[in-house]
């Protein structure tokens, strides 16, 4: 019965997502985005950088441009851009070359992105456990406001699976190798509920180049891209409904 309902829903979702989609803002909290890359032409509409002000990180708006210290955010952005043509990307650069304050900057960026009301927030970075208490209320607020946070499982085999991926209010993502990037798997009863395609993915690299990447960081934007398309087809969906739809779209 449940499987029949899921199949019917899947068919309906597929048909709707193939049609015209409303624009959806997707915030990407990462190392920045090289908005000049041909794969991302005209897709990055806003950009913010984390700057320290009296010991606290503030998100300062700047022109979208070539802002990526590592190429990680550009890679993530290119996956979302490819998967969801209706996604309007917002660059939150929180990982700088100085390798400091990543956790505090991540919290500041998430607070800003939730406050701005971007419908989807992609977090291919996990914060240390010490930041969990600051991230949790922000994720709860996002959930209540209908904002879908898609967060990566930590790749390192440590004692936690990464924050905010451990919170039930977010769509948490592990990686696997699938035949196509829009394939999904739902894992009932686990901390990390969804699995996306994240193996040997061709992505954009700064300077107009490309490369291949593997990891949960690159499975997460694949799922965020599906979420952006879902919300483009059904803008009224709440986060729990998005999870239900993702479940319906998942492989058995």
């Amino acid at each position: 019965m449940a499987r029949d309902m899921a199949r019917a829903l899947e068919e309906q979702l597929d048909a709707q997502m193939a049609g015209p989609l409303q624009t959806v803002d997707v915030a990407i909290l990462d190392s920045g985005i090289d908005a000049t890359h041909p794969d991302l032409a005209s897709r990055v509409t806003k950009a913010y950088g984390a700057e320290l002000d009296h010991g606290r990180y503030q998100m300062v708006e700047r022109e979208p441009g070539s802002h990526d210290a590592f190429g990680h955010g550009t890679a993530v952005a290119s996956i979302i851009a490819r998967m969801a043509p209706n996604a309007r990307l917002v660059d939150y650069a929180i990982l700088g070359r100085d390798n400091t304050g990543a956790g505090a900057a991540l919290v500041a960026a998430l607070a800003h992105a939730v406050d701005a009301g971007h419908r989807v927030i992609n977090m291919s970075l996990a914060a240390k456990g010490e930041f969990a208490t600051q991230l949790h209320p922000l994720c709860e607020t996002a959930y209540r406001r209908g904002i879908v946070i898609v967060a990566a499982k930590r790749n390192m085999p440590l004692s936690d699976q990464g924050f905010p991926a451990e919170f039930t209010s977010v769509v948490s993502v592990d990686r696997a190798k699938f035949a196509t990037p829009d394939e999904l798997r739902y894992v009932p009863g686990k901390v990390i509920e969804f699995v996306g395609h994240g193996d040997d993915v061709v992505v954009a690299a700064p300077g107009g180049m490309h490369t291949t990447k593997t990891g949960t960081s690159f499975a997460t934007p694949a799922v965020a891209g599906i979420v952006a398309k879902l919300l483009g087809a059904y803008p009224e969906l709440r986060p729990f409904q998005v999870k239900t739809a993702l479940h319906a779209l998942s492989q058995p």
Partner: protein, 229 residues
Amino acid sequence: MNVMANVLHTQLGIAPESSEAAVLQLLIELGAQVVGAAEGSLLVHDPGGKDLVFAMTVGGGTGLIGKRVPLGQGLTGLAAATREVQIGAPTFQIGQSPESRAAQRQPQAVIAAPMLADDELIGVLTAVCFDDSKRFGAQDGDLYGRLACVAGLVVHQRQQLAALQAANGASENAKSIAGSVARLSASNPDALARVARLLLEIEGLVGPTPGPAGQGAALSRPLRSPRSG
């Protein structure tokens, strides 16, 4: 002291002939062998210089020992910055042939896994291949993540032991001084006032004592309880 020994001692507080150094070497060799890497290396974090320093290599690359990699550069820097395993390949232009990519003699597949102790960055383990047909998969990355965890634990245990030994040494010295004062007090009580003045003068002259030279990074780190998650 050669370059490798100097890097290990200065940045990690590990003696080159110690069992910890042997375990680290073993982990790099094991990792490279299991994933079929041409080269493997261990880079240690230098917080002062905000960079990573090549400390050990296998499969060649001995000329890299002592070379520095800025934290904000490449896959190794990204692994350090994100505290995550990074798997990747060099950049290419769409349409560029595999032959021309391979001819550049750049690593064609790379894994970089951070070594952590209580979420503090100690260094990065890497594996590289120059064969264009070779790609590291997620399982290779998982293995390197685990090896890096063990390597981080080895270094962290060594640092905790050094800190305990330093604390124990200080405690033994204090006991010895107290014993000496007690014996003096019993045999010549009139001298106690002079001894007290002398000790105060010595304290003023010596001041706070720094840690052993070259082990500041390792020994100045406070002891912490195991990570609770």
